[in-house]
């Protein structure tokens, strides 16, 4: 074999480390410290524009201020919820055209009267677009939104009542308000857009800290797992779209009432990308980040326009590119694009990244290249080396499962879960064939069988991931067939996953709160205004979550990101998250996989304790030691059919089971 030389190592890229210490310092400030800083920033934002020339005041209004507002709105969709929207400018346009149409040319309304309508219509546009398309994900959604952005512009271009290419002119300015005279002077508009930005920051921050924001984050992290933990994913994605769209509509209103005329060219595709660039550049999901990003995207091109060394720089750029530009302005987007590329190479997480985003990028170091179980080993290693020995091995005996979680379980009927002749076909493949099972309240019911026998398919049918081809599944006598997974979770079924599916970049307690939210009822408006119910649910949810973490034995890891927990603790957290939904039946899918004997013993103790507290458990597991030790009754599946059901000792000596699955008879423990 010929010698293959090692590749030369790339030099480590320089790290931009100026802002990170600032972020850390900010996080350590007490609440009043933060309030003081924010007030200071606000005071500066009010005072500083008044010292500028009108020309720069104009720049602060547009593009800077408007971009910031749009970026905040788009950040809800892209950064918080993780849906790529390439046509965001459409909502800006809807807001602006609504304003223009209703106020100019005999529309009859004043600008102030129009504000709510502009926001509402943009929201309606968001829901209209979202309704049919939000079932799409990723690339598909991006293309649909891209098309929507273009459609809105082209409709405006071709609709006579919207002025076609000419657009709408003579849009009236708002009347004076609070001593601000909205005329030609740009300064009052700077304050107007500042007020809108502050309002948007405030409202979005409220949403973020509520169950709404948690559900968005959960959808971003793992949409299927979110649905199965009781998050109505479709509805919450629609809300995200609506909130983003209404912010865009507000931006449109402000823009139209200041500038006084709009036409389709005001809303080029380009603008969608610029705002998206601002969000990514600033840091997906981070409010200060997207503000900084939008500021950079809006301000740098304007600044370059005024560049003092214009002549020489222009000449040099001409000589590099062989161009013949007469104005540096023609190079604005070239330079800007270059800056974006450099930025993404050297600081891909953005200027002021959110915690989640930074963690995600740290993860993307080739770990996923071979499809390994996401970061599990790494998390273990990190956890062990930062002072903690392996996963928690003890279950604290003195911590009982809080009563709140078992209240519903105890009300369950004697035969809590019943599968009747359930058949599941995928194309020609029969995954389950006439399977009937009855699970009784308070027992631990095991499902075993060879790989591919259909065990996980049973869980997927119960939880609504699949709809059985025929047969019925009933919880307390109510059929679950055809219900959406989040409804089934609400009805009282919770599960864990064979390959752990936590929300990896959310903290342990946030993971549990997503589960607990399944039982909460605060609406989106309730979260925005901070209704008393919202406050009560948040407090209660947190208290319950803390007790639950104690119960599964990871109480000291409250604020750690789930992905940084050792493997065993991740399994515990997943169980806790499922219990938080207050289930009647808890489905555990191979909880002992990847455990060594000591860890398995701890798991057995935990499952027993859950059962003792009154929850009904259905357990899929390959480890016979665990199964035979904890299960009261066991069903055996083979090739989609139930071949045996009975007590552990009956199963162990059943000829068919031994032949199909066990291989040899094993001793009773």
């Amino acid at each position: 074999m010929s010698r293959i030389p090692a590749l030369p190592k790339l030099p480590a890229l320089p790290r931009v480390s100026l802002v990170d210490p600032l972020t850390r310092r900010w996080e350590r400030l007490p609440w009043w410290g933060k309030a003081l800083v924010l007030l200071g920033v606000l005071a500066f934002a009010i005072w500083y524009p008044s010292t500028l020339e009108p020309k720069w005041q104009s720049v602060l209004f547009f593009p800077v201020g408007v971009y910031i507002l749009l970026a905040l709105g788009l950040n809800v969709v892209v950064g918080l919820t993780g849906m790529l929207d390439l046509g965001y400018v459409a909502f800006f346009a809807v807001g602006a055209y609504t304003t223009a149409k209703l106020t100019a040319e005999g529309g009859g309304l004043t600008a102030w009267e129009c504000i709510l309508l502009a926001v509402l219509l943009a929201m309606v546009a968001g829901v209209t677009l979202g309704g049919p398309t939000l079932r799409l994900r990723g690339d598909y959604l991006a293309i649909v939104t891209l098309g929507f952005g273009e459609i809105v512009r082209i409709v405006a271009q071709n609709t006579p009542s919207l002025g076609q290419a000419r657009g709408i002119t003579a849009i009236p300015h708002p009347s004076s308000l609070a001593g601000l005279d909205f005329g030609i002077d740009p300064l009052p508009y700077v304050y107007l857009v500042l007020a809108a930005i502050v309002l948007a920051i405030f409202l979005i921050a409220r949403l973020r800290r509520s169950r709404v924001g948690r559900s968005w984050a959960a959808i971003r992290e793992d949409e299927d797992a979110a649905e199965l933990m009781g998050v109505p994913t479709f509805k919450m994605k629609l809300w995200s779209f609506a909130v983003g769209a209404s912010t865009g509509g507000l931006g449109g209103w402000i823009y139209a009432s200041k500038v006084g005329f709009i036409n389709p060219d005001t809303f080029p595709l380009n603008l969608s990308f610029l705002v998206l660039a601002a969000v990514v550049l600033g840091g997906l999901g981070s409010t200060p980040g997207v503000i900084a990003g939008a500021f950079a995207v809006g301000f740098i091109p304007e600044y370059l326009r005024e560049f003092s060394g214009e002549e020489t720089v222009l000449e040099r750029l001409n000589s590099i590119t062989g161009g013949e530009a007469t104005d540096i302005n023609e190079y604005r987007f070239f330079l800007f694009g270059l800056a974006l590329i450099l930025m993404m190479i050297f600081r891909p997480q953005g200027l002021l990244p959110s915690r989640q985003r930074a963690a995600e990028l740290a993860e993307a170091t080739g770990e996923q290249a071979m499809g390994a179980v996401a970061g599990v080993d790494e998390a273990d290693v990190v956890a062990q080396h930062t002072g903690d020995r392996a996963a928690t091995l003890e279950v604290p005996d003195d911590v009982d499962l809080p009563d709140d979680f078992i209240a519903r379980a105890e009300e369950a009927q004697e035969e809590v879960l019943r599968l009747t002749d359930v058949t599941m076909q995928f194309g020609g493949v029969v995954a389950l064939n006439d399977v009937s099972l009855t699970v009784r309240r308070g027992e631990i019911f095991g499902i075993i069988g060879p790989n591919g026998a259909g065990k996980t398919t049973v869980f997927n049918c119960i939880t609504g991931v699949f709809r059985p081809t025929s047969g019925d599944i009933g919880l307390d006598g109510v059929s679950l067939v055809g219900k959406k997974p989040h409804h089934i979770t609400e009805a009282g079924v919770a599960r864990t996953f064979q390959n752990i599916r936590l929300f990896p970049n959310m903290t342990a307690i946030e993971n549990i709160l997503v589960g607990a939210d399944a039982r909460h009822t605060t609406s989106v408006p309730g979260a925005v205004v901070g209704s008393p119910k919202h406050g009560r649910e948040e407090r209660l949810g947190r208290a319950e979550a803390l007790r639950l973490l104690d119960f599964v034995g990871i109480g000291r890891r409250v604020d750690e990101a789930a992905r940084n927990l050792p493997y065993g603790d991740q399994r515990r957290l997943e169980i806790a998250r499922a219990i938080a939904t207050q289930p009647k039946v808890l489905l555990l899918d191979e909880p002992a996989a990847g455990f060594n004997p000591a860890e398995k013993q701890a798991l057995v103790a935990l499952i027993r304790q859950i059962c003792r507290a009154g929850l009904t458990v259905v357990l899929i597991e390959h480890d016979m030691e665990v199964v035979m030790e904890v299960c009261h009754r066991i069903a055996v599946l083979d090739f989609g059919e139930k071949i045996a059901e009975g007590l552990p000792e009956e199963i162990q000596s059943d000829e068919r089971v031994i032949r199909a699955y066990l291989g040899v008879e094993i001793d009773a423990p």
């Binding site: 090692a6 191979e590 040899v664």
Partner: protein, 250 residues
């Protein structure tokens, strides 16, 4: 020695995951790494296959220093890993998955290799047109091992091949591992199922928190009191009834 790690250190950010690990594998051996979750077993395998960069230390393969060599080059040289979690290509058929395994080879005549894989795993032949994602867990594990074999590796790295498998399949996978070894492939095996791994392996290393704390021939570790208590589930149960079925092939 075919494969030799000399005082290898690996970091995740600030955290040192391997604190100077030295492991060697001779031609024709089955060597196993055992240890708790997070001891650094998977990291060791990923480091050998070039996915985790080495901070310091040296990895020799067949007399060549391969430290820092790109993973795809290592596959060409004869180091191939069947990763934990299987990592099969879900949208490709079984045959296409196996073909991908031979991707790095210059000699593309894969007919005899396919035959060998299908001999070891008749199940894969039955399913050869089915897409990888629709296979059961056990079949996926077979496919992952089969795919690695298609590269005709000198050393096969196996990460938890028995994870999530039914008891009967566990026994089957372990006898196939022995079979592959008898056919001439050197194997480095990471396993939670330490009893089975030690019964199959020639030599073993025990890892704890990023260090090798014990190394010996596999058989004597089976009787080692510390190892029994920590990894074999011994000493905790009065009856000592092990659920792992004894090896049906002897």
């Amino acid at each position: 020695m075919l494969l030799e790690l000399d005082d290898v250190r690996v970091h995740y950010g600030q955290v040192e995951a391997l604190k100077g690990v030295s492991v060697s594998v001779d031609e024709g051996e089955i060597v196993t790494l055992i240890g708790a979750n997070g001891a650094g077993k998977t990291t060791t395998l990923k480091t050998i296959s070039g996915i985790r960069p080495v901070t310091s230390g040296r990895i020799m393969f067949d007399g060549i220093d391969i430290t820092g060599t790109a993973p795809h080059r290592l596959v060409e040289m004869g180091i191939c890993q069947a990763p934990e979690g299987r990592g099969i290509f879900p949208g490709m058929s079984v045959l296409e998955n196996l073909d991908m395994g031979a991707y790095a080879r210059r000699n593309k005549d894969t007919a005899s290799d396919l035959e060998r894989v299908f001999e070891l795993f008749p199940r894969l032949q039955e399913r050869r047109t089915q897409s990888g994602g629709t296979l059961s867990g056990g079949e996926q594990q077979m496919l992952a091992i089969g795919r690695a074999l298609m590269a005709r590796p000198k050393v096969l790295l196996l990460d938890e091949p028995s994870m999530g498998l039914a008891p009967m399949l566990v026994a089957q996978i372990f006898s196939i591992i022995t079979e592959i070894n008898v056919q001439g492939t050197t194997i480095l095996l990471v396993e939670q199922n330490a009893t089975q791994a030690l019964q199959r392996a020639h030599r073993a290393y025990v890892l704890e928190v990023g260090r090798v704390v014990k190394s010996s021939d596999a058989e004597s570790l089976l009787d080692d009191e510390d190892v029994k208590a920590a990894y074999l589930g011994g000493g905790r149960r009065s009856s000592g009834g092990s659920a792992a079925p004894s090896d049906p092939t002897g």
